[in-house]
């Protein structure tokens, strides 16, 4: 796992430090109309002209940090400057896009995304589980057919489509429900919900956060619901459920007390593995609603070739992915005694 994370940072480092990318960085940082010779001298002055492997080791913190000719510049600009100044020493570097410490910026943005995801989980998991259980309870029934169609539709709708649909339906002054409600005098704003969630990062309200939350939850919900349905349908076909039925227990008790607990083991893994998959959706949704969270930062960093910030973002993303894989494996064993005995 640590090896995978290391390999990924090497790849990101190599790709962001390609010569054309560095030249672009130089032009955006200094002046867009620099000549090639000026670009080369800018890169040399800021230490970008040395071998990639050495600079990567510096970033990691296993090689002494680089200093400019006059003893300033480079990663750590404190006085006295520490000898090593890399990620291993807890220094994530300087963001050229936002002009600030990467750790501070990323901390803020991750907290914002955390708040968003908290609401997403709070909406998505109960809704998906209910949907799946209702559908899987009586396999092949009309309710099952209808709910399965809903689940397929939500999985087939990427965030940039559902987000656009939700905005058009609920947050547009021209179309959807808002003009209707304004005419009837039911709302005192021009639109029912806000199509821009920038304000939600500082003061989240129901009106500015509802649409981003709904967008992410809708996209993630279908898959969990389908897994829950499959697992529930399988459990309902087990002999012990038949026994309970033959005993004459009410259907409600069978579902709630006998089937539910066993049916929830498989969806747990799915929910955990959904985290990294949701990450893509979070990036798209945050950009669509301009919510300044982790995903929005990632796009900004990538668009401006902000090397340190991009590396930090990818470390966070990769750790998240690998950690959820680990947790889902452990959680599966913990929830399912049958594996432990073996």
């Amino acid at each position: 796992m640590a090896l995978a994370a290391l390999a990924l940072t090497v790849i990101v480092f190599a790709l962001t430090n390609l010569q054309p990318n560095l030249e672009k960085l130089a032009r955006t940082q200094a002046s867009t109309r620099m000549s090639d010779a000026e670009v080369a001298s800018w890169l040399a002055r800021n230490g970008y002209d040395r071998p990639m492997l050495i600079r990567y080791s510096e970033w990691l913190g296993v090689v002494p940090a680089w200093r400019g000719e006059d003893g300033t510049g480079g990663r750590c600009n404190t006085d006295p400057a520490p000898r090593f100044c890399g990620v291993l020493q807890g220094n994530w570097g300087w963001s050229t896009r936002f002009q600030g410490e990467v750790s501070a910026i990323l901390g803020d943005r991750l907290a914002a995304t955390g708040r968003l995801m908290f609401w997403v989980m709070l909406v998505m998991i109960p809704a998906a589980l209910t949907l799946g259980i209702l559908a899987g309870m009586r396999e092949g029934s009309r309710i099952d057919r209808a709910l399965s169609t809903v689940a397929i539709t939500t999985t087939a709708t990427p965030e940039y489509v559902s987000g656009v649909l939700l905005i058009a339906l609920l947050a547009s002054t021209q179309a959807g429900l808002s003009p209707l409600l304004t005419d009837l005098g039911l709302i005192d704003r021009p639109t029912l919900f806000l199509g821009n969630a920038r304000s939600a990062a500082t003061e989240p309200t129901f009106w500015n956060l509802a649409l981003p939350v709904a967008t992410i939850a809708l996209a993630g919900m279908g898959y969990i619901a389908r897994m829950t349905r499959a697992s529930m349908a399988e459990v309902m076909a087990q002999p012990y459920i038949r026994t309970a039925r033959l005993k004459g227990l009410p259907f409600r008790d069978i579902v709630l007390r006998h089937a539910l607990r066993n049916a929830l083991i498989a969806p747990f893994t799915v929910i955990m593995l959904q985290f990294p998959w949701l990450l893509n959706g979070v990036v798209i949704t945050e950009v669509l609603f301009s919510y300044p969270g982790f995903g929005w930062t990632l796009v900004e960093a990538a668009g401006n070739n902000d090397i340190d910030l991009l590396l930090a973002c990818s470390v966070v993303a990769v750790v998240l992915v690998l950690a959820t894989q680990l947790i889902s494996d452990l959680g599966y064993v913990w929830l399912n005694p049958r594996i432990r005995v073996r």
Partner: protein, 386 residues
């Protein structure tokens, strides 16, 4: 005169007549020959599968027949039609062109309806081909990994997990940029990724026609000649006839999409192979003295086809979503390309005021992906039945 919603829908339906005709013909033919179609014939009985097939065929025909359907040039900008609402008539309809913008105009005064239809062409030109290359790559690597296990498996699985663990969007931002096109990286990746299908096809022929040597040699020579022709055209841009060509940015996108999808296919194939390699017929083939390549390609692969075909449908849909996401982040084929992702991206700036420009491609993309998902579901149900 501005059109009402009923008139707009009616005119769109009329405008799509080639698609309806093609759909009716293909479904009629399928009904007539259903007993000879076998597996596909039984798909006609499943309502999910039929709905999916109809949606997929609808967009396929729309893409193929796009020149007959579009009402205006998808790139033409007509003055006075900026952000026009659906059904707006042209200010001066001269030259016998279509008199209305059926689904309105976008921020650059282009016809949204024509762009949506042309977008189907842009998307369906890439997505199935990319899925195919991703499949060949994933299968070519997944079969040996699952069959030989050991060190090959460990190495390939580590590499695949590495790509899967990468957040897709980040990878796109790193791999699809104008800057990276100045480096040899996309060319090198395409050289490898396009060589794999070639090697795959060659292996298929080599292992199949063992008895008939002259036939094998002829087929191999033909495949290699065709393959090298295509390969040199796509990778080196050196096709003398100009038939196999990809502009650098399209190649870049294609390669990035294949690169992201192939590891998932690899994982599926590897899992299936691990399971099938312990079957009796594989042991029997081994006892007969068949080569590992023959066993993998002609014993294991045909028996793994069910889940692979189902996933292929899903994969095309997923690649459509990925292409849309690329367009959404402004990394699409070109700024004025009518593909759905780019159009949604351009439309979203004025989304709250003029939603129609983004809504049309959004609904189009959604219905195509939904169709592919339903089709996959129908296929899965059918394959589970026997």
């Amino acid at each position: 005169m501005e059109l009402g919603w009923a008139a707009i829908l009616l005119r769109i339906a009329l405008r799509l007549w080639p698609v309806w005709l093609a759909l009716a013909l293909s479904f009629g033919a399928a009904r007539a020959f259903r007993h000879r179609l076998g597996f596909l014939g039984r798909l006609l009985d499943s309502r999910t599968g039929m709905t999916g097939l109809a949606l997929v065929l609808f967009w396929t025909f729309a893409a193929l027949l796009a020149p007959l359907i579009v009402t205006h040039d998808p790139l033409a900008q007509l003055s006075g039609m900026r952000n026009a609402v659906p059904g707006t008539p042209l200010p001066d309809p001269q030259g016998g062109g279509y008199p209305h913008y059926l689904l309105g105009g976008d921020a650059l005064a282009r016809d949204v309806f024509s762009r949506m239809i042309a977008g189907a062409r842009a998307v369906l030109a890439i997505a199935p081909a990319a899925a195919l290359v991703a499949y060949m790559t994933g299968i070519s690597l997944g079969l040996p990994a699952g069959y030989y296990r050991g060190r090959i498996d460990a190495g390939l699985t580590f590499a695949a997990n590495l790509v899967i663990a990468f957040p897709g969007i980040l990878l796109f931002f790193l791999l699809v940029t104008p800057e990276i096109r100045q480096t040899p990286i996309p060319r090198a990746m395409s050289a490898i990724l396009f060589a794999i299908p070639l090697a795959f096809a060659a292996q298929l022929i080599r292992t199949r026609h063992v008895a008939n040597r002259t036939r094998r040699r002829a087929l191999l020579a033909l495949t290699l000649a065709l393959g090298v022709w295509a390969w040199s055209g796509l990778v080196l841009d050196a096709d003398p006839l100009g038939l196999w060509r990809m502009p650098p940015n399209l190649l870049n996108i294609f390669i990035a999409v294949v690169f992201v999808s192939a590891p998932v296919v690899f994982r599926i194939t590897r899992g299936l192979t691990l399971d099938l390699a312990s079957r009796d017929y594989v042991a029997a083939a081994r006892t007969r003295g068949e080569t590992p390549a023959y066993i993998m390609l002609w014993e294991i692969l045909p028996n793994a086809r069910g889940p692979l075909i189902v996933d292929f449908c899903l994969r095309i849909g997923y690649i459509t979503i990925l292409l849309g996401a690329l367009g959404f982040f402004g990394l699409g084929v070109s700024p004025e390309s009518p593909d759905w992702g780019s159009t949604i991206n351009q439309g979203r700036r004025l989304l709250t005021a003029y939603p129609h420009a983004a809504l049309a491609p959004a609904l189009a993309l959604m219905s195509l992906v939904l169709g592919l998902n339903l089709l996959a579901d129908g296929l899965r149900e059918e394959s589970l039945r026997d």
